[in-house]
Amino acid sequence: QQQVKQSPQSLIVQKGGISIINCAYENTAFDYFPWYQQFPGKGPALLIAIRPDVSEKKEGRFTISFNKSAKQFSLHIMDSQPGDSATYFCAATLSNSGYALNFGKGTSLLVTP
């Protein structure tokens, strides 16, 4: 069964707006939560990641918010730009399992000019 649920499936945001993508997980043993960004014709690339000992991590315009009790985490893209238009995947894994990632189904983000 799907171990990581991601929403929404698609998202349209105006330039300068905030894009928010949400994920929920089932396995409380997961201890590493990355977000991947994928452009058409390319493989996914790591964008930002968080471990459950912190509630928020920020890198530039990208922020992960983590709620351990709710088993949810989200990606916020501030000041969204057309160049951010891509598919975003959340994932979760156990670091002692060799980091075999369990992915959400992806969110297709379109940032309009």
């Binding site: 995947f89 980091y99 990632l101 992915f103």
Partner: protein
Amino acid sequence: DVKVTQSSRYLVKRTGEKVFLECVQDMDHENMFWYRQDPGLGLRLIYFSYDVKMKEKGDIPEGYSVSREKKERFSLILESASTNQTSMYLCASRLVDTIYFGEGSWLTVV
């Protein structure tokens, strides 16, 4: 820069053919992975490998096998390709806690 290279980007194979997808990484990573990506389904793990000659089944191993004879190379094998294996296949390797992906191999089975 970490490089994960999938030698075949686009393949068209016939039903029943044996198909080899090759992946090479240049950073001496121990863990390597094969994922399958389908629209609306995200990335699903087929197999992964901790080290040479070691392999573990992922979520959807049926119809696939793998080979890891050398640390830098991880091959995905479709013993008898079927049309439901038409997909994009992504190889990846791990450095510390970062998984690096190749650019993908688009396989069409007709």
